[in-house]
């Protein structure tokens, strides 16, 4: 009798185990699918590297790396072709630098206000508004640079042409200001309250606490914010394409036309360039340079952020 019962429960147990195995087996395809989804990010990165490398390799079969990196004339679209990337690189870096000159002071000061001074009410209104600024499509900033910044601000100040590096810089500065502000604010808010209280206890006022305690304590986080914003400015495309012109001139004068690396890529794409020509390869060579520069900046910023989190979490 008892052996029969145990045989019955054994059978039931085996049936349950079978059902569980079946359920797991049915779930296997789902598991494979989500794993594939996660792996797609790696496939994308590998794809980008292969795509860039393939054409870049073709480019460097015809142009020496030294000529590319040190040449001061960029004329691949003319009959006498020269492939010195410096005019494009210089334009990209100058415009990014100009944008940072606007975004760093304004962004960091705004972050200090939001993190150390602003009442919660003000903060809850200002932050979303600044986020709106970061969410406006860049083609609209291009329009703004062309229709307002250049004719209403820069030309009255003596700029001769509508197109200039400066007007692109100002528009990009406005674009990345919220990025600097929001990431810097995050960094300042994660500075422990005890540090502030210690400083107040020693007789500091709010200004001293903000500038001598919170800012230095959040410095690596703010630096990471600045680098991420700079990398965004380096890779920014539509603003520089619309506002700074298509003249690859090596110049230090921000009130002249310049052509950034991204703007050159767009210029070539707009034309009817056939695959297999050297013009087609140039956009991949420029793309590779852009990819490497922004990747190095992003990795450095993430390393800084990780270090910063270790300090306070």
């Amino acid at each position: 009798m008892s052996s029969m019962a145990s045989a019955g429960s054994e059978a039931a147990f085996a049936a349950r185990a079978r059902r569980r195995r079946l359920r797991r087996a049915k779930e296997a395809p789902v598991y494979v699918f989500i794993l594939a989804c996660a792996m797609l990010s790696i496939v994308t990165t590998v794809g980008i590297v292969i795509v860039l490398f393939e054409e870049t390799y073709r480019f460097f079969e015809e142009v020496s790396v030294i000529d590319f990196l040190t040449g001061t004339k960029w004329t691949p679209l003319f009959t006498s072709k020269l492939f010195g990337v410096l005019p494009l690189l210089n334009a990209t870096l100058m415009m990014a630098l100009g944008a940072m000159l606007i975004a760093i002071p304004l962004g960091v000061l705004a972050a200090v206000y939001l993190s150390e001074y602003a009442p919660p009410m003000v903060r809850s209104i200002v932050k979303p508004v600044l986020e709106v600024l970061a969410g406006i499509p860049t083609v609209i900033y291009g329009y703004f640079a062309l229709q307002f910044i250049a004719p209403e601000i820069l030309q009255p100040l003596g700029q001769r042409t509508v197109l200039s590096a400066a007007s692109a810089s100002i528009a990009m500065g406005i674009l990345i200001l919220p990025l600097v502000a929001s990431l810097s604010e995050d960094a300042m808010r994660s500075v422990p309250q005890s540090l502030r209280e210690g400083a107040y206890g020693l007789g500091s006022n709010r200004f001293e606490v903000a500038t001598r305690v919170v800012l230095p304590a959040a410095l690596s986080g703010i630096l990471a914010a600045v680098i991420l914003a700079a990398s965004r400015a380096v890779g920014e495309t539509m603003i520089v394409t619309i506002a700074s012109g298509n003249q690859p001139i090596l110049s230090w004068n921000p009130f002249e036309q310049m052509q950034a690396m991204t703007a050159y890529i767009v210029q070539v794409s707009l034309g009817d360039t056939q695959r297999g020509t050297i013009e087609y390869s140039t956009i991949f060579a420029i793309g590779s340079l852009l990819f490497v520069v922004t990747l190095v900046m992003n990795i450095f910023a993430q390393w800084l952020l990780a270090k910063f989190r270790e300090e306070y979490d």
Binding site: A110, Y113, G235, V266, G287
Partner: protein
């Protein structure tokens, strides 16, 4: 005695002037901070005003129902609006399931090993890759190798890859906010891991995932460079008929109008910008409303 009194007096005088200086510096600094904060808002105001005053005159019903034209006064955004809807549809079709799938894997299934770490670092880096690079990828992979030509499908796939990191990050945050006790209860009652995720974890995480999806699509809708790269900047006077149809989008059409030399096209561009901003406003308003509604309803 008098020397001591004298010392106290000077010290007092010095420290009170020092105190005044400190207060003054504090006030000045606060003024600077406030000015910096509001300079951003001022820029936003000026931008919106410029666009509105330039474009509102061109904005009438004909603008929505006519195709692009050589004449600024007759140019409309019909093909651009249809193209935008088509491309966004395909972007969402690919980015949403793949993004949520990747987030579920990373948040609910992956063990903390080197592969997970590689995938996470990789997603972070992909989020920082400039959009032109995605354009080069789309041009080679979808337009050339998969022979999709300059189609809606190629555009949607390219933008899907571009916004995937945003969807993944937002979905992970949504999943992480669901308390572990819900999972434990479900597993304790004998549900499998996937049943737990599908029936218990995903539903409460859905509002924040949806918010993330809307934010990702509002990023995609403004993207211009990658679509120019895959060759979408052509004169299109028809609406797409299928996934392999040629297309233009609002952002591309705006860029096209901006780069025309005739001044009249600037106003047409501004009208297009108003439409694009209107769409973005509706999308973001919807996302904010969604988040507020569900946060109020949620029990934990």
């Amino acid at each position: 005695m008098s020397t001591a009194q004298h010392t106290v007096a000077t010290l007092g005088g010095r420290s009170s002037s020092r105190l005044m200086f400190r207060r003054l510096a504090g006030r000045l600094f606060l003024g600077l901070c406030v000015a910096a904060t509001f300079s951003g808002m001022l820029a936003l105001g000026v931008l919106l005003f410029t666009v509105a005053s330039d474009g509102v005159g061109r904005l009438n019903w004909d603008f929505f129902t006519s195709y692009p034209s050589r004449f600024a006064e007759e140019a409309g955004a019909k093909s651009a609006i249809y193209g935008t809807v088509w491309v966004m549809g395909f972007t969402a079709l690919f980015a949403v399931p793949i993004g949520i799938g990747a987030a579920i894997y990373l948040e609910e299934f992956a063990s903390r090993n080197w592969l997970t770490k590689v995938i996470e670092t990789n997603i972070n880096n992909l989020a920082g890759v400039p959009s032109v690079i995605y354009g080069l990828l789309g041009l080679t992979l979808f337009v050339r190798l998969m022979a999709l030509e300059r189609s809606v499908l190629a555009g949607g796939l390219t933008l899907a890859l571009l916004v995937l990191p945003i969807v993944i990050v937002a979905s992970r945050e949504g999943l992480r906010a669901v308390p572990p006790s819900i999972r434990e209860a479900s597993l304790g009652l004998g549900a499998t891991k996937w049943q737990t995720v599908w029936f218990q974890v995903l539903p409460p995480a859905m509002p924040s995932i949806l918010t993330g999806i809307i934010l990702a699509l509002s990023r995609a809708i403004g993207e211009t460079a990658p679509l120019i790269m895959i060759g979408a900047l052509t004169f299109i006077a028809f609406t797409p008929e299928g996934p392999l149809s040629q297309f233009t989008t609002l952002s591309i059409q705006i860029f096209n109008w901006i780069s025309r030399p005739q001044a009249a096209f600037a106003d047409t561009a501004a009208a297009g910008i108003i439409v694009l901003l209107g769409v973005l406003l509706v999308m973001n308003g919807f996302a904010v409303g969604l988040r507020m509604y569900f946060e109020r309803r949620r029990g934990w």
